[in-house]
């Protein structure tokens, strides 16, 4: 009889495991489990990296915390799924994570064939090259014959092939799956050139034993709009993630910071800001989004505005010292622009 009990148990377990999930929305699921499951990089200084105590820090991590603030009014209600370039998409597709914040480039095939939705760009990046100073390379066009270290399964790998082909240059690809392995190979001199998004190069250079001996070449060979991705088919969730970014940008435009948000909320007479922070009477902006009306207030209270998140993790206030450049507000010559919140 043991056998039948066992097979019955296996059968029941299989049914339980394969039964299609009830059609709860992502927001309902997240609220029910009490935390946001965020897919991030396994370790890229400034963007997503755990510190010695195991606390995650970084630009992408703060975005996860911003979404958690919007939902739970608590930036700590996040759990992180660290992924490699190759495992990030299956992690989101399979539902292991609720949202992907992993310096991921928005491309049309990822938006369509992979079944994801992209809308916002939280960091405008471009692919660059880093070489040791002693090679005396001034331009990427001099790189013919070089060995190039690159992470597999990235748009970087494809841009690299296209750029060298277009310029009729030869190269030997040295490809690894994990960022840490690419770093180690570059540090060991296995390749002459390291290529990835420029923001990544700054971050990686910092991790080398002698950052001053490496130079980042001026060429930017691609557009790399980095932004969050969610699964297709849940528009409400897509809106929440998108408008979290817009709220961060709008807050910077309004000059609302983590420090002064309470004061402004209490004293402002500006109708735009009142509507934004949810103090306008009978506003429905937050509830229409599926959140509370003070969702934007919660985001700013939790992580600050876009400028603060930027400066703290990758800007002048960090060791990466990346300039705002394209990521300045539209009013300051950059590309960061939020649609009207009304």
């Amino acid at each position: 009889m043991k056998k039948t009990i066992l097979s019955a148990a296996i059968g029941a377990a299989a049914i339980a495991a394969t039964a299609p999930a009830a059609s709860a929305t992502t927001l309902e699921t997240v609220k029910a489990k009490g935390f946001l499951q965020c897919v991030v990089n396994s370790g890229l200084a400034g963007f997503a990296q755990p510190d010695a105590a195991g606390n995650w820090n970084g630009f992408d991590v703060d975005y996860c915390r911003a979404v958690a603030s919007a939902i739970f009014n608590d930036p700590t209600k996040v759990k992180f799924t660290p992924t490699t370039a190759q495992t990030r998409f299956p992690a989101l597709q399979s539902g292991e994570g609720d949202v992907l914040f992993r310096n991921t480039t928005w491309t049309i095939s990822r938006d369509t064939a992979l079944g994801f939705n992209f809308r916002t760009v939280n960091y405008y990046d471009g692919q660059g090259f880093m070489v040791p100073k002693k090679l005396e390379v001034k331009s990427a066009l001099e790189l013919s014959g070089a060995a190039v270290c690159v992470q597999s399964g990235t748009t970087t790998e494809l841009n690299l092939a296209d750029y060298f082909k277009a310029n009729n240059l030869q190269y030997n690809p040295v490809v690894f799956e994990k960022l840490e392995e690419v770093n180690a190979a570059y540090a060991a001199g296995r390749c002459d050139v390291y290529t990835t998004d420029q923001s990544g190069l700054y971050s990686i250079r910092l991790g080398l034993s002698n950052p001053d001996e490496h130079v980042i070449l001026p060429e930017i060979i691609s557009k790399e709009p980095l932004g969050p991705a969610v699964r297709q088919g849940d528009d409400q969730w897509f809106d929440i993630v998108s408008w979290t970014h817009y709220a961060l940008v709008q807050a910077e435009e309004f000059g609302i910071t983590k420090a002064n948000v309470d004061e402004i909320k209490a004293s402002t007479t500006n109708p735009d800001i009142k509507r934004f922070l949810g103090v306008e009477k009978d506003t429905k902006i937050g509830t229409d989004l599926g959140l509370t009306n003070d969702w934007a207030y919660n985001i700013i209270k939790g992580v600050g505005n876009y400028g603060e998140v930027f400066e703290r993790n990758i800007g002048e206030g960090s060791s990466l010292k990346i300039k705002r450049g394209l990521n300045a507000l539209w009013s300051k010559g950059g590309l960061q622009y939020a649609p009207p919140i009304r």
Binding site: A161, E177, A185
Partner: protein, 398 residues
């Protein structure tokens, strides 16, 4: 018990009989197992299809024909970023095959030497071999690969300070071993044909000489003749054709040594690590096989006046092979499958190129299916070959 059973009502009796009838029981269990299996398979495939449809992920194998767009560092066949995903996966497959094939040969040689070494009466040799076996058998293969890779990268010099064997243009640095590439000129296909003819001829001569020896007892210097044929015939054709061979000599470029052929450190680390690791297991299998031949066999051969070397060759080894071959097959399969660990050091094997394809196209289910089918068919073909070999080597009882 019997009495109570007969005393029971008739219907109860037949039910009991059915429950305890081994035949009915076995049918019941087999049928229920089959049903559960079918239901499981159906549920899994249905679930996959449904999830794919729900997540709007594209499916099907059409992506194999599309342009890959990424480069591969180490390829046995011509491959560029313009080639298709299918070809990229095929490049990876060939790399896997290459590692498996030469790894198996090297591991077998290492295993044989170490295994015999452990049986040696020389204390030092046998202890050294024991140390070798215990070290490599007890370290996970991934660590052996890492150790060799980091070791190779750490020890070897930079390109600028390459070690060079002067005169023959062989360079060694942390980008690999670079050596002149043979470029075969026109008509060189005839050399290959000559080689093939020589091999076939040697086999025929061997058969003939064996028959003659059986019939007349006369021996024929088969080894010398075969060696002469296999080396001499292609050489003769080569000279007749006017030596159509040139070399692509590697030269120092601005960044790398360009030209020539090269063995990359990733390949080297993976190949040596797998050979050493699997070799330690094979050594134990060989030792067990030889130990497994009863001592009486050797003694009987000695009593018949057969020389010790002939005894080993014709009495001990054939019997040992029966014990050796089945576990040896498992080790070969292990080595083939362990070659997928090459992804850790960036060797572009099937898993690596397939993984990149997976990531660029997002077609996880299809790529994983390809992986499984390829490894399965590789393993099954080596199993079949080894089974055939085993049957050939099996003791023929009269």
């Amino acid at each position: 018990m019997k009495k109570r059973a007969t005393g029971a009502p008739a219907s109860d009796f037949s039910l009991r009989a059915m429950v305890y009838d081994p035949k009915i029981r076995s049918i019941f269990f087999q049928v229920s197992t089959a049903i559960i299996f079918v239901i499981l398979v159906w549920m899994i495939s249905h679930n996959v299809a449904e999830n794919l449809a729900r997540s709007n992920t594209a499916s099907g194998f059409d992506f194999l024909k599309r342009r890959a767009g990424f480069d591969i560092g180490d390829s046995l066949i011509p491959y560029t970023a313009d080639s298709s995903y299918g070809r990229a996966i095929f490049v990876g497959f060939l790399n896997t095959l290459l590692i498996a094939a030469i790894g198996i040969v090297t591991a077998t040689i290492i295993g044989f030497l170490i295994g015999l070494g452990r049986l040696s009466h020389n204390w030092l040799i046998s202890r050294l071999c024991t140390v070798y076996v215990e070290i490599f058998r007890n370290i996970p293969p991934l660590l052996v690969i890492f150790f060799l890779y980091k070791g190779v990268l750490g020890v070897l010099p930079n390109v600028k300070d390459s070690l060079e064997i002067p005169g023959v243009h062989i360079f060694l640095n942390n980008r690999g071993l670079v050596f002149p590439k043979a470029v075969w000129g026109e008509g060189s296909v005839w050399i290959a044909i000559a080689f093939a003819i020589a091999v076939v001829a040697s086999l025929l001569i061997r058969r003939w000489s064996y028959k003659r020896q059986m019939a007349t007892g006369q021996q024929f210097p088969i080894f010398k003749v075969a060696a002469g044929l296999i080396i001499g015939l292609p050489l003769l054709v080569f000279l007749v054709l006017g030596a159509p061979l040139s070399f692509d000599i590697p030269q120092g470029g601005r960044f790398n040594i360009s030209g020539g052929s090269s063995i990359l450190p990733e390949f080297f680390a993976l190949y040596i690590a797998l050979s050493l690791y699997t070799g330690s297991f094979i050594a134990e299998i060989i030792r067990a096989g030889i130990r497994g031949v009863p001592k009486g066999q050797t003694e009987a051969a000695t009593a018949l006046g057969i020389q010790p070397s002939t005894t080993t060759r014709l009495v001990v080894v054939p019997q040992a092979m029966r014990i050796i071959i089945p576990p040896l097959t498992s080790q070969y399969l292990n080595l083939t499958k362990n070659s997928s660990l090459g992804i850790a050091v960036g060797f572009p094997d099937l898993v690596a190129t397939g993984g990149t394809t997976l990531n660029q196209t997002g077609q996880a289910v299809e790529v994983v299916l390809i992986w499984m089918v390829v490894y399965l068919s590789l393993s099954i073909s080596s199993s079949l070959f080894m089974n055939w070999f085993n049957a050939k080597m099996a003791l023929v009882e009269r």
